[in-house]
Every structure is written in structure tokens, then in C-alpha cells.
Symmetry: none
Subunit: 324 residues, 2 copies
Amino acid sequence: MTGLNSDSAQYLISTVSKRSGVKSDLVRAWERRYQAVTPTRTAGGHRVYTDQDIARLKLLNQATGNGHSISQIARYSLDDLKNLIKDEAGAVIPVLNGKTTSVSDRVYLTEDYIEKCYAAVLAFDARMLESHFENAIVELGTEVFIEHLLTPLLTRIGERWISGELRPVHEHMTSSVIRSLTYILRNNNPRAANAPRMIVSTPIGQLHELGALLAAIMAELSGWQVTYLGANLPAEEIAAGVKYTNACALTLSLSFATDDHIVAKELRRLKKLVGNNVAIIVGGRAASHFQGVLNEVGVLNIHGYAHFRQILNELAAKNLEQES
Amino acid sequence: MTGLNSDSAQYLISTVSKRSGVKSDLVRAWERRYQAVTPTRTAGGHRVYTDQDIARLKLLNQATGNGHSISQIARYSLDDLKNLIKDEAGAVIPVLNGKTTSVSDRVYLTEDYIEKCYAAVLAFDARMLESHFENAIVELGTEVFIEHLLTPLLTRIGERWISGELRPVHEHMTSSVIRSLTYILRNNNPRAANAPRMIVSTPIGQLHELGALLAAIMAELSGWQVTYLGANLPAEEIAAGVKYTNACALTLSLSFATDDHIVAKELRRLKKLVGNNVAIIVGGRAASHFQGVLNEVGVLNIHGYAHFRQILNELAAKNLEQES
DNA sequence: GTAATTTTGTCAATGTTTTGTAAAGCTTTA
DNA sequence: TAAAGCTTTACAAAACATTGACAAAATTAC
């Protein structure tokens, strides 16, 4: 770059109009009516603008396009305008449950909540964590809560656990809080009577239950009737659960990559025990580490939230038509 | 941060309507009739709202959706509204219409409930179990529920597990249901701010968490602030939990008598790690099996429900006088 | 249980404000 | 001198405000 900084660079109104996308007439109107920009003048009275002015007008243009009234935002600072735009950036699907706020707002709020929640985890403050969760559920709605708060939060906890910032207890405490919250989460979405049934657990050797919990909650919200069994269960027990509930799907979470062959062995046994009529779904940070067995046994491997939902819907549909 | 705080940001009514989900007409009606919001005005008379107003309307919208009459709640503070919504999230409506049943009636009722609940466990029907629990909590009250339903039920499950009638999965499923219920149980009894803190867990090798769960719930109901960590944790982790929360008591449940020396070793390490200022309480079916170590380490051994309550009260009193 | 009353969401009619656009007439600039 | 800019004035569509009314729903009274 040259030495041109934003103060020295100067433009006439036609240039500004082209670069900001706001018609000249309108630029003048905004100045006259609301002092949206305050250009200096040449000796002859022509307006002279800076780069900052252009940036400002660009943002104002975008904001008004988003429904904000120019009179209200005309005098906002550059930073404030940026925030305003950022808030609206994700506004793609503005309707979730009919009423309630736009998704983008809630997604934005989420970042705040994630920070607060993570801080509570780090401080090992279960009450605080629970309180934040409660507020978040109320404010964001269950869908957004799960997808944009819980999922990234748990991912982060997983990472920090690996890096050593968090200890296993942190995870246990968090699981505990979340488990007690499942009650609220579930109650918000009434289940159908003939909902397809699913077992969620983790195989022996997999002690981390956060992933499994998340899967259980997601499945519940997708209309499944989930029986959550907790972590670290032998294949026989999981299979027994499947049989007892007559579940048509079994979701396992693999969060930790182990080099022993326990998980592989358990998966094979599981497959043999539950047979071919039960779909086995596997997800979790370490799932790819076990890719070999997963392929061999023939399980559905989850890639992200959306994918899981898709799998759930497909399975539910298949299950429905089998029943009829 | 920028200067765009919740006071400065301003919106016109259409934006507010979009974000809060309340139609413009209705926003105005609520203002006119109940002063639900009190926006400022532009020079021309247009209403101008803040972020707070939007949050308010959002909550009001939700609350009215929940059956509250707008005239009653229109002037609530933001916090009150949040609480209103939060309380409803767990919506059990624990109202018994004033009519109280005698304690004896309720104890009698419990036997009925125990049978139903046990049948649900045996049938591996988590929904049914949860449903019975919910009804029982409402009908019996938390105290009776815990003492006369949950305690004997869990004892019975332990026995039947030994006899082979039940499998480990049954216990896992039951734990899962109870954990999700802790939310209701806790919410009925608000805790004091300066409540004494406690950690509840089970040591490595002790996979059964029902006893620990029960202890956690009891302690909560006795006014303790409990952090429940789940089962099967190494001494270091439990000790870390104690340190993080600054707990003055640690309750462990020992349900299964093992002949290896793991539990004994863990208990000794635990004692060394937490020091003498933290009371270690041990309960559970198999506690007596480890009597040797328990004496050596110097723990409080629980004998029944009443005894546990007594211990809790004594400790709480001691803790209180130490703090003052 | 029914009738009277109140609450509450919605709408319509009518007038005002906001806001983008544009024309007219004059001035500056290249 | 032609192009671009300035100011003033005007205009119309969209959005907003106010008032008053109405009917369904919820409460209350009988």
C-alpha cells in the first residue's frame, strides 16, 4: 500500500455513490436529513468524502436493506454498524416454529452463551452452568440451543480435554448437568405415540458420554423415542437394551481413539447380537479412527448435525412403512 | 466492545415485530392497554424500541403462549419474565389443589407405585417409568417419594440384579430416567445461596450409580449444593472435583462387593488427596464389605435414610459455624 | 350450567411521518 | 462550455399512529 490513509484519501460524490452503492441524491438526502455523513467541502462547495465515509455508506445501505430505518441508524459509529450487519448475517431461514425471533439473532446470542457456559465448566460451577443452560433454552429455543450452543460447546470441551486444559471431572460434571436438563428439552417437544425407538450408549472402553448424550437429545427432538443407557456398556447389555425396547436403531458415540482392539471387538459382537434389522449409527470425534471396523460391520457413520438428522428421518420413514 | 449496548440500539416497530414475533398491532395494543413496553418516540411520533424491549416482547409472547394472561404479566421485569418461562420449561404443574392426603395414605399409595415402577423397569419401559415417577412426585411429594418409593425401589433393583432377574442395562436405564428427573426434584426445593457443598460419586470399579444418585438427591433436598459426578471415577478426579467446588463433604456409594483391592486403594488415595477438612461419607449395599478400610481411613458410614439426613444436618451445622 | 362480563387479538378507516426519487435553477470544475 | 455538483422544493409509496370497533376466548357472576 501507499501512504494513503483513510484520512487523506478524498472522493467526490459520484465516486462515493459508485463505490458505496447509494445514489448521489440519496447520499445528499441522508446527509441533509440525518447527518449520516459529514463530508468536508471544496472552496466551491463540492462535497469531499473519505474512505471511512464510503465504508459507512456501504454499511448503512446494507442495514436499510435489512429493514432498519435510516433515521434510526444514520448516526451509528462504524463499529456499531458492523455489529448490526453481523447480527443479521445468518438470517437465511427466518422461521423456525412460526413465531419466535429470527435465527440469526439467536445464533449471534449463542456465541455469548457459549463463552459463559464454557467459563462455568472451567470454573467447575455446575449451578452456573445449569443456569446458563436454562436461560439459553428459553431464549434460543431448543433447536438453536442444541445445534449452535451445545454442539460447539461439547466439541470445545473435547478439544480442551485433549489439550489438558480440562480434566475428566469437568466432563463428568457437564454430563451430569446436561442429563438433568434432558427433562426440559424433551418436554418441549411432545413425542408421537408410535415413534420409532432407539438405544443410545457407548461401547466398553469409551467413557466419554457427552457425544452420546447429544445424540440422544437430537434424536428425541427429531421425534424418536430414545432410551439412553449411559457410557461404557458391554455389547451384551446394549444388545439386551435393543431387544427389550424393540428398537430399530442403535446409536453409539466414539469419542476417544484407542489402539487396543476392544472397540472393534465390541462392535463386531454387537452386530452379531442385534442382527441386520437394527440400524447401527456411529458418531463422535474418534469415529473415523475406527473406520475399518465400521465398514466391516456396516454401520452408518455420522458426519455432522445435519447428516444425523437426515439419517434419523430416513430411518424413521423406513420404519414407518415397514410397520404399515 | 462497541458502544452499541442494549440501551442505545433502536428499532422501529416493524423490526421489533419481526424480531419478537409479536404483530405490530399487538405490540401497540399491549403498550396502550398495559404499558408492556414504553418506547420513546421520534420527533414525528414513531415508536422507537431498544433491545431490551425486544427481549421483553419475546418473553411476553412466550409466556402468553404458555397460558399466562397478558394483563397479569405485562409489567413484569425482564428477570421475572425469564423466571416465569424457566419455571414452565419443566412444567409439571405440581399443584394438588389444596386437598392434602394424609401421610399414611400416601405411604400406602407408594406400595402401589413401587409395583408399577418396578414393573416398568422389568419391562424396560423408560417412558412408563418416567411417567410413574412424575405422577408419584406430584402425588406423594418429594420427601415421601424419595424415602418411601425411590429408596425401596432402588434397593429392590439391587437385589434383583444380584439374583439375576435384572441385567445391568436395567440399572443403566433406571439411572438415566432418575437423572433426568433430578431437575424436577431439585426445583421444588430452592437452595440457599450459602449452602454447604458436596461432591457425590463412586470410586473406580464401582459401576452402579443408583446409590450415588439417591444420595445426591437426598443431600440436595436437605439443602446442600451437590455436584454429582457419576460413577467409576479415579481418586484424582474426585479429589479435583472436591477442590474445584471447595466442597466440605464427599459422598461415595459402594454397591458392589469386590475382592480386589482397588476400592481400598482408591479410598486411601482419596483420603490423602482431600485431607482432613473434607468429610468423607460412604453408603451403599456393599459398604460393610469394605469396613476395614473405612475404619482405617476414617469415613462416616451411612446406616439408612434417617442416619444420612442426620449426618447431613450435623455437617451443615458444623460448616456453618466454621464459616461465621 | 348458563348468562353476563371482561379480556384479548385483530382489523379498518383516516391522517401523519418517513424516505427514496426527481425536477428546476444555479454554481463549480475540468 | 459541458459535465458534474449544489440547493431547494416537491412528490408519492411505504410505514406508522390513532381511534374505534368487533368477535372469540376466558372469567366471573348468577
